[in-house]
Symmetry: D2
Subunit: 333 residues, 4 copies
């Protein structure tokens, strides 16, 4: 299986879902190997690089793409299988951006208080140990954490002619910032415009649930993925599948609305997969769902709601395409 | 080690945190084996028992207790180690109570829509297989799920002379409805009144995160726990510790405020355990915390925020009492 | 018409709804003239008195009462007509209490930021001009504002055996902090316990909508009110009536839930007053309701939803008791 | 003073802020008389026209515009003075759109309940009496309500290359749905793109605060307005001024965040207008602000926070342009 490689120049970065011209046209079934810059566009390189000086929040999460998928029409389901995510630099950066994050007032949760101190942390990557190293800024602590690469943003062009910042998660996917967006996961996104126009970016070498300070271990990433298409069947909100879980992602505010969206999507999906009445699916999911918070820091907050396949009878979603993609991905690596 | 057994009569059930006379006085170090009725007081025994006919939401989650802990004073830390949780009946019940739960309008999220159909599910317990059986009400599906016993409510009397329904989670613990409240977990609660006056109840044979329909597999439970006391050091919000995790529980509305509370508590706890500056603890937790939603259905919503001990250096909280209690608990079983 | 006067001693202050012994027993139809201390218990007397030193948030809004209303039973409607509110001191106080208020992080909206500076303002009352004077703390500005006396808290004992802090608004009324709670207004509260056990307090010489900083121009108040009782008919949430408006008060979090409660109550009330189908009442209220925010700072947030009588046909609520009380009140003054 | 008239053809309707080509270029100081269709594009003409059959929520609130304002650059302040709003049809329409509105679950506040019945109301306009007539659908009630024309949407192109649906209110203005957007009001909007690209639409013959059912008395409107420009000084969020009030509009979710935004903007504006320290402005606004909810039904919720000029010393905002525009508007009518 051939792999098309694509690395955008800085001028080719997109900062929106929708509104950007396609970088490439790809046929369903194509494998892509994509380089993406980090959320900050690579400008935080030492602890002396402060986000207040170097980062403009209107232009973060530079997207690699968008990609026009041949044959994709509104109502179809775009299928992206993440085959591999590999850190593309030897360091990642994180920052407490003034008035951005979960433990500070923001431009929405407005107060009259002073900002937290603008602070940058640099994480060195150790490829042998597969770790990134947290180095405290106010003491000598140094703690190595496992690298668990994920993508913060995977999305398509929105419906209704909207164009949204790559800082936003919503129905079209986008900046969902969930650790579930990792190698081995298949993503299902409803197509809103001809060609789907998907893009990826915002690689994280690791991230806690909630992404509390607003930024993960942000790092340039090389993503190998397979693009596919299911005609029709567009889910209302992003769905994820890996070998172990059925997952949905809701994004909204307040956080309970993100959960409501994700949970209702899971209930309907489980009802459909197993032929259950919605009230029975509601009951069943109540007893087995997991609900890890993805982020509480973006323009919308995101929650993943998931059901373990091991607790349920066997079932196939979208024609069993996940298993098929797993097999195809194995040939790439 | 002796174990004091206590089973309340129906007249001895308490339905509040605070406001009830102590059932027993216990010394720190005491082991208790407590029987608690299910959330419905045992009245939903078949699928024909409807909550609208049989359940008064002002009197649910009957509490076993409260227990007066000798020497406990405001500002102290009550320590409860859950040694064992055993289903005390051979069936559990769950219900979609009209206008209660996460996928319906409620008395707070008010709409003009009709209620979902009042529906009861009965789960048979198979002690050999250690499963409860979901039986669909609208089809023939039957799915066995592992028993994972937990307590919905563990709490003390609130501060400021308040008395709260056993349906409420807040600073005093209470109806947190998290699957983390299981055997092997140590609970730390700030003491607000002399004697602490803790109680337990609302056993669940299993529960999904979010407790979406508002009720778990509700079942009578036999809880074996060890009571202990740390003088001073009262945490602002409930903290949990097991062999694998440091955990905090925030409860409020909207859901992001529950998360904010839990996350800030974890940041401060990690700062204290490891001698980190709060900004460094904030950064570190951002990259390693997990944030499973506990419930989005109670009077307050609850979120657990947790840090895996395996990712962190060794540390002791509250004088290392958890390890000590684990050892003591082993002698009970 | 006789008026019973009652001024509590400091030891007689209550700090909760529910949980306090009755101060007096009164028959329906009784007029009371009640002195209440300010929210701070009168301890902020100069700009040098700081709330962080002198105020314990567990014991604010001292209540005058509770009063046992003869014949009041659960399900009845307590009727309180505010005949007159008169400032009982020549000054009022306001404060930016650390981590309390709408433009700061709080114990619920938790952040890691520093508190705003603890600041006290003293407002001198000019009885001739009927003004209170705002005096800036950081400049020489002095602005006289009209005195518009209101009560922050009017409530009864809660249901289900709960006892709530006088800082809390909910179904039982309590700390609703709405400027609508002024002379000329009739308050309808559902009775939850025998005797109703109502109390009043937290006088404000004036307050903006939202009570943004968390405190109004707090002042001791002399309240003249008439107590009455309607058997049955308990509203689910507080209702207010004055000569110009039908009003409901919803209190919850997030703020949209407070609005939803208040709006649904108004829809149902208008449906009942005019014999409209709920969908028609919903439509009608959508085009004529006003929705001033009461406060965004208390343990629950409160919203008033109101309909102007001038836009609607004539109607009587609770047997037309408001007009009757207006007439009776006129004889008192 | 000349007035440029503009009536779009149906093909010229815009459904977004940003992303549409300018309809006209206008110089600052120009007066425009603009016809706008109603929110439904005029398709609900009788009670038998149901929104579920005839309305696509991705394409509502058709905008008249956008207009390119000569000389407008990012950072400037667009000034729009509403001189006159006149109903352009003899009827208005309102609807309870399934899963849209404040008293129903929605696509964000998701539940499993059935939708409310899809219902349309037609309001006849009586130009002599200046009323619209509510006609109940389930009884014979008919209630005449005063016409109080307003615009639901007034906005500019967003920042950061975003394009937003005309259903959305945010920093750029948009679908704020406040009754304050009426004749006599001056609107100040920060310019984000060259030419500002403002548009108007969504006329309401009247609307209650909250816009509870999701739709007002929707009607085609003829709006006479004067366009002006202040170089620099862009406010962070929309500001309104009329003869009586300084006003700000916050739009976000949850509703408290909308209020926080609006209140902070008012505090900063008052601080700037009167030379007050922010803490003093915070205190002063706490005692005099009004906070009517605008809507709790759109993609973001909106709150107006306002200060009565009568309570404050005289002051001029944006060089006193409101008084100047009032005078210019008088020559138009």
């Amino acid at each position: 299986m051939d792999v098309i490689e694509y690395t955008p120049s800085r001028e080719q970065y997109a900062y929106t879902f929708g509104g950007a011209a396609p970088a490439l046209r790809v046929a369903p079934g194509t494998a892509l190997r994509l380089w993406s810059d980090d959320a900050f566009g690579g400008v935080l390189r030492s602890v002396d690089d402060l986000s207040s000086a170097k980062v403009d929040l209107r232009f973060v999460n530079p997207q690699t793409g968008p990609f026009w998928v041949e044959g994709a029409e509104p109502g179809d389901t775009l299928v992206l299988h993440l085959a591999a995510l590999e850190p593309a630099r030897d360091w990642g950066a994180s920052a407490a951006i003034p008035f951005f994050g979960g433990m500070t007032s923001t431009d929405r949760v407005v107060t009259l208080q002073d900002a937290l101190p603008d602070t940058t942390w640099i994480y060195e990557l150790d490829r042998d140990r597969n770790t990134v190293a947290f180095a405290a800024r106010h003491s000598d602590h140094r703690i190595e954490l496992p690298v668990e690469p994920m993508l913060g943003t995977v999305g398509v062009a929105p419906a209704g002619g909207e164009v949204r910042s790559s800082l936003v998660p919503d129905r079209f996917g986008g900046n969902m910032d969930t650790p579930q967006m990792r190698a081995g996961t298949t993503v299902f996104l409803g197509v809103n415009v001809e060609g789907a126009l998907f893009s990826v970016g915002d690689g994280h070498y690791r991230q806690g649930e909630g992404e509390a300070c607003g930024t993960a271990v942000e790092g340039a990433m090389t993503t190998t993925l397979i693009v596919d298409l299911v005609k029709g069947g567009a889910p209302g909100w992003p769905r994820l599948e890996d070998d172990a879980h059925w997952m949905t992602v809701g994004s909204s505010r307040p956080l309970e609305d993100a959960w409501r969206i994700g949970n209702a999507e899971l209930v309907h999906w489980v009802a459909e997969l197993y032929g259950l009445h919605p009230m029975d699916a509601y009951q069943l999911c109540s007893q087995l769902a997991q609900a890890p918070i993805a982020n509480v820091v973006d323009a919308n907050y995101s929650v993943v709601v998931k059901a373990a396949k091991a607790l349920l009878p066997a079932a196939d979603a979208f024609g069993g395409i996940h298993a098929d993609l797993r097999a195809r991905a194995a040939t790439l690596l």
